[in-house]
C-alpha cells in the first residue's frame, strides 16, 4: 500500500481538473435550493432521501463517469504497468468518490441547519462513508459490465429500477410492510435506513441489520465481483 496516498492525491487532482468535484458540489448546491423550499414538516422525510440520492446514486454515477474517461484515454493501462497493486488503484478511486460524497453531505448538512435550524446526527458521517463506499463499488461493477457509454446508461437504469426504486417507494410509504421488511437486504434500502436514522428515530435492530447489510455487500461485491475483473478491465482500457 506504499502508493495508496499518491494515487489518492492523483485522483483528487484529476477530480478537480475533470470537473468531477465541480459536478458533485454543483448538484449539492441544487439540493440546497430544494432544501430551502421544503416546508419544515417535510424536512425529516425529504432530507434523508436527498442525502441518500447524493451519497449513493451520485457516487455510483461519478465513479463510473471517471472510469469511462480514464478508459477512453488509456490511462488505466498505464496504471496497470506501474508498481501499484490492483487493490491500491481500486481503493484510491473508491476513496475519492467517498470524499466527494462527504463534501456534498457537508454542504447539505449546513443548508439544513441554515434554512431549517435542524441539526443532522453526526453519525451521518460514518454512514455516508459506508453508503458511498458500497455504491462506488456498485458503480465500478456497472462499468465493468458496460461496453460503452450507452450500455453504461442502460445498466444504470436497470440498477436504479431494480435496487433503488424499492428504497424510494419504501421511504414514502408506498410499499406494504412485509415487502419493506424484505427490502432491507437490498443495498439501497439498507443505505436508506442508515441515512434516515440520523434524522428520524429508527429501531436499533434496523440500524444494526442495515449496517451489516451495507458492510457485507461492500465486502462481497469487492472481493467476488469487482476485484477479480478489474485488472482485465484496466488492460482493455
Amino acid at each position: 500500500m506504499r502508493n495508496l496516498g499518491k494515487l489518492i492525491s492523483g485522483e483528487i487532482e484529476r477530480a478537480t481538473k475533470y470537473k468531477i468535484l465541480t459536478v458533485g458540489v454543483g448538484v449539492s448546491l441544487l439540493w440546497c435550493i430544494i432544501i430551502a423550499a421544503i416546508p419544515l414538516n417535510d424536512v425529516k422525510q425529504i432530507v434523508p432521501l436527498i442525502v441518500f440520492t447524493d451519497s449513493a446514486i451520485m457516487s455510483a454515477i461519478l465513479i463510473s463517469a471517471s472510469l469511462f474517461f480514464e478508459r477512453n484515454e488509456g490511462t488505466l493501462s498505464t496504471l496497470a504497468i506501474a508498481p501499484c497493486s490492483v487493490l491500491e488503484i481500486l481503493l484510491s478511486k473508491i476513496i475519492m468518490s467517498v470524499v466527494v460524497a462527504l463534501l456534498s453531505t457537508a454542504i447539505i448538512f449546513v443548508s439544513v441547519a441554515i434554512f431549517h435550524g435542524t441539526l443532522i446526527n453526526f453519525m451521518l458521517v460514518p454512514y455516508v462513508i459506508l453508503v458511498a463506499t458500497l455504491n462506488s463499488i456498485i458503480g465500478v461493477l456497472i462499468s465493468l459490465h458496460s461496453r460503452d457509454f450507452n450500455s453504461m446508461l442502460v445498466n444504470f437504469s436497470i440498477f436504479v429500477i431494480l435496487l433503488d426504486l424499492p428504497a424510494v417507494l419504501a421511504s414514502v410509504g408506498l410499499l406494504p410492510n412485509w415487502i419493506e421488511l424484505i427490502t432491507i437486504i437490498l443495498p439501497s434500502q439498507a443505505s436508506q435506513i442508515l441515512i434516515t436514522s440520523t434524522l428520524v428515530s429508527t429501531e436499533l435492530y434496523q440500524v444494526l441489520i442495515s449496517l451489516g447489510v451495507v458492510v457485507l455487500w461492500s465486502v462481497l461485491l469487492l472481493i467476488l465481483a469487482v476485484y477479480p475483473k478489474f485488472k482485465e478491465y484496466m488492460v482493455k482500457g
Binding site: 502508493n3 492523483g10 487532482e13 480514464e70 498505464t78 504497468i81 508498481p83
Partner: protein, 285 residues
C-alpha cells in the same frame, strides 16, 4: 550476455475467443539487445508484449525473467520495466508535466523528466494540457513516460507511429543510447525501417507463430538476392542491366559494359526486410 526473457511454448487465448492468438512460440531476449517482434496487424505482437509485461497472465507455457518465473514476480517487477504503448495514454486534462509528476511519484527510482522533455522537444509545451497535443506530441510523451523510472527493460509498441522523420530519428537515437547504456529493448512494430535501424535480432510473427528469427543481416544473407543493377546511357536513353554479384569480376558482359558505356549509377539490389517478410510469411505487412 544474460537472458532477460526466456519464452518457451507460449500459448494464449483471449477469454471467450474461439481461436488461440499465440500458438506455442519460443524465443529468448538477451540482456542489452534490441529485439524486434515484427508482424502484420492482428498477428499477436501486442498480445506477446502484454504477456511479457504481466498485463495478461492466463497463458500456457513458461516465461522466465532473469531466471525467475514471470508469474511469481510481484508488482516490484514494474520498477524495472518501462512500457511505451501504441496509443497515447496520458490524462488529457492534465498538462504534460502534471502527468509525468504523477506517474513518476509512483516509482522508487526516478529520473529528471524535464531533461527527457527537452530531448524529445516537448519542454516548451510542458505546461500545455495533453488534450491540446498533436498525436506525435502525445507519442513522444508516451516515450518519456516509459523512461520515467530509468528502466532496465523497455517495451515499445509501434514507438514511431505518428512521428515526423525528425522526431522519429530523435526517438530512435534515444533507444540506441538506452541500449548503449546496457538497457534491453523489446520492440513490436510493423515498420521495417525501425527494425533495420534498431534491432539486433528480429522475429517474424505470423498468425501467432514465429515464422523466422535471426539478425537482420543473417536474414538478408539467407533470403536476399545478391545482384547489381547498372544504369547506363545508350543513344541518349537511360538503360539498365542486372548482374549476379557472385563472380562479378569474371562476368564479361558486365566488364564490357563498364568499359564501353557511360555509367550513370550502380546499385546493389539488396533485398529489403519487407521483401524477406513477404517471402517468409507469404503475406505483406
Amino acid at each position: 550476455m544474460e537472458t532477460a526473457f526466456s519464452v518457451i511454448d507460449l500459448e494464449f487465448t483471449y477469454p471467450k475467443a474461439k481461436n488461440q492468438v499465440i500458438n506455442g512460440i519460443s524465443f529468448d531476449v538477451c540482456e542489452g539487445e534490441i529485439f524486434g517482434l515484427l508482424g502484420p496487424s492482428g498477428a499477436g505482437k501486442s498480445t506477446v508484449q502484454k504477456i511479457l509485461t504481466k498485463l495478461l497472465t492466463d497463458y500456457d507455457g513458461r516465461i522466465s525473467y532473469f531466471g525467475e518465473d514471470l508469474k511469481s514476480l510481484s508488482k516490484e517487477f514494474y520498477e524495472y520495466i518501462g512500457v511505451g504503448f501504441e496509443l497515447p495514454v496520458s490524462f488529457g486534462k492534465l498538462t504534460a508535466i502534471e502527468n509525468l509528476k504523477f506517474f513518476s511519484s509512483l516509482y522508487k527510482n526516478q529520473v529528471d523528466y524535464n531533461e527527457l522533455l527537452k530531448r524529445v522537444d516537448l519542454y516548451s509545451d510542458r505546461n500545455k494540457k495533453v488534450c491540446e497535443f498533436s498525436k506525435g506530441m502525445k507519442m513522444r510523451l508516451n516515450f518519456v513516460r516509459a523512461l520515467l523510472n530509468n528502466p532496465k527493460i523497455l517495451f515499445l509498441d509501434e514507438v514511431t507511429n505518428g512521428l515526423d522523420p525528425k522526431n522519429s530519428k530523435i526517438i530512435k537515437d534515444m533507444i540506441l543510447e538506452f541500449k548503449e547504456n546496457g538497457g534491453t529493448v523489446f520492440l513490436t512494430t510493423h515498420l521495417m525501417g525501425d527494425v533495420e535501424q534498431l534491432c539486433d535480432r528480429v522475429a517474424f510473427l505470423v498468425d501467432g507463430r514465429i515464422a523466422e528469427i535471426s539478425t537482420p543481416r543473417e536474414l538478408k544473407q539467407k533470403y536476399g538476392r545478391r545482384e547489381l543493377i547498372v544504369e547506363y546511357k545508350e543513344d541518349k536513353n537511360i538503360k539498365s542491366q542486372t548482374f549476379d554479384m557472385n563472380k562479378l569480376g569474371d562476368n564479361q558482359s558486365f566488364l564490357t559494359l563498364l568499359k564501353e558505356k557511360h555509367i550513370e549509377t550502380l546499385h546493389s539490389g539488396e533485398t529489403s526486410l519487407e521483401d524477406i517478410f513477404i517471402i517468409v510469411a507469404g503475406m505483406g505487412l
